[in-house]
Amino acid sequence: MSVRLNPALNPPAPTPGAVGSGRQLINTTVIETSRIVLAVPSKGRLMDDSLAALAASGMTVRRPANARGYRGTCDEFPEVEIAFVSAAEIARHILSGAAHFGITGEDLVREYGADDETRAEIVRPLGFGHADVVVAVPDYWVDIATMADLDRLADVFRPRYGRPLRVATKYLNLTRRAFARHGVSDYRLVESSGATEGTPAAGTADLIVDITSTGETLRANNLRVLTDGIILKSQAMLFRSRSAPLADGAASIADAVAARLTAAAVVV
């Protein structure tokens, strides 16, 4: 078969004749995998900045006249298909191999990929979409300024309230890793898919781990970032998947795309 799942496990290339007959049989598969998918955020400032970054690298992206279309093309690389998807989906696609390249936040790739270094690599940071993943507590907790303070609080919280501290976040993995690094062990994560900053006031959590760029939303919700509570300084990055399958011949095109995108780093 001409589908590469893993270069290390890839069987020897089929003979030309076999490829021809194979194409007849698995026509759709070949069409799918001979393309190189570059995933780009589908809306807003992140999309505009991403397209500008691609343009600066010499890649002109065209979105179909129907502005709602989710597939686009690239003038310089006819084999490249542009997929317009949400930033979170892009992170998953890069890690699962559904996209060969993608532009998304480092926070999302680190969150979804516990073993991200084996599944994706950073081509380069793009210099926009800056945001920090932070640990924030209600600002009336005047006794708590650091992660060490939080650990001390966790120890007395359970005996006093009969339950562990609750931490609301959509970054379950980033939070676990950061809290373990700081030795905070007695807490419970509450998964939050939106409006995380409202959970302490609502009483569904005691503190949060969330992303912030200016800190305004946190302040508006009477939350304060711990002095050593910045878990990750994130920005938009161009990622290359290490697990995306490539059809025969597509690998060299993917390398050419990567070279074009990397070279721009020097120019920019």
């Binding site: 005047v142 006794d143 300024a145």
Partner: protein, 416 residues
Amino acid sequence: MSPARVLTAETAHGFDRLEAQAQRILAAFGSTGHEPVAPAAIQPAAVFLDAIGEALRARTYVFTDPGGAELCLRPDLTVPVCRLHLERDPAGARYARYCYNGTAFRFQPADAGIAHPREFRQAGIEQIGNRTGVTPERADAECLAIVLDALAAAGLSPARLVITAGDLGLAQAILAAVDMPARWRRRLAGLHGRPAAFRAELARLSTTPGSQAAHLPSALLDQLAATHDTPTARADQLAIVTAHLEAHGLDIQGARTLDDLATSLAAIARDAVARPLDAPVAAVIERYAALSCPLTELAAALTDLAKDAGIETGMETGIDIAAAIASVETRTRELRSTGADPGRIAFSAEFGRSLAYYTGFMFEIGLPGEPRTSPIAGGGRYDGLMRACGAPIDVPAVGAAIHTERLLAALVGGRP
């Protein structure tokens, strides 16, 4: 993820042999009066997640069912047995002995290796409540002895085993015997089983106990410090903290109460002016924390420690840990009377188990040369877990589980 890993995780190797072995283990448990029970594999997530600590929660398979209930695949069988006991006896304190054999589920990272499948089998015992005329030390000893007997019934000779034990109750007794504020004791006891964090906190208390006050205004600290040991301390502290919050436009929006905040700030203010932990006291604690000896030598080591502590701290009679030493002696004697050899149990003051709910004596049983992360069996005392599961009061309880796949691997050679 390699194909080999998927196979390991999905396949119960030698299921028939595992079951035959489990029957021998259950027969041993049954002969000592344990009632076989089969709690549900799917459990409500909340109880588990509150009771076991985030370290294990991170490895628990949690899901939402079509009805919206948050559930989990049980990561161990101790909490399910406690819940089963509470169904039968909502007060929770009635004496009962249970045994079980079933699957437990824990997420394992891709590089976990074949000794750590995500679906594995445990056979274990739990003793809940007080049996008239039986000391907690006797119950601890019986629990360990019954597990050793069950391992022997399955064919694993005690002579092949490495048994390690720790004791949170003993650590608390040492801390209670030396001179320091109660809040420092609680803090250090909370770090039992985390040696690096324990040593760091001990060093902090010995040098800069006031470090937590660094970010607070000195006026607030001074006001709070002035209330210490006055008859109206509590009311004054509440008023001072209320005024501070109002002056800074801070509202109480969340679970933490004004009382909690005032207690915490008063303690910080106290630490800010506190003398660091006396060097001789820190030395006694350090010496205890470094203690590692056969269980049979523990009482003598503690007696020496108490005597020397008197010399070091300038107290004429040393520190008073007589009750704790007597407890160690009782447990050692009871172990001997069950037929277990306490001389083969290695006590370590730093030993703690990864589960958050243990409160007293605890142990792990493994093979020489195997990593500590892959014990064949483990258990201990968990006097707070029944309450965490919904009992109205603390209920004494002790239990242990055998990792039956590792046991089989140890018996047939090779690994599971």
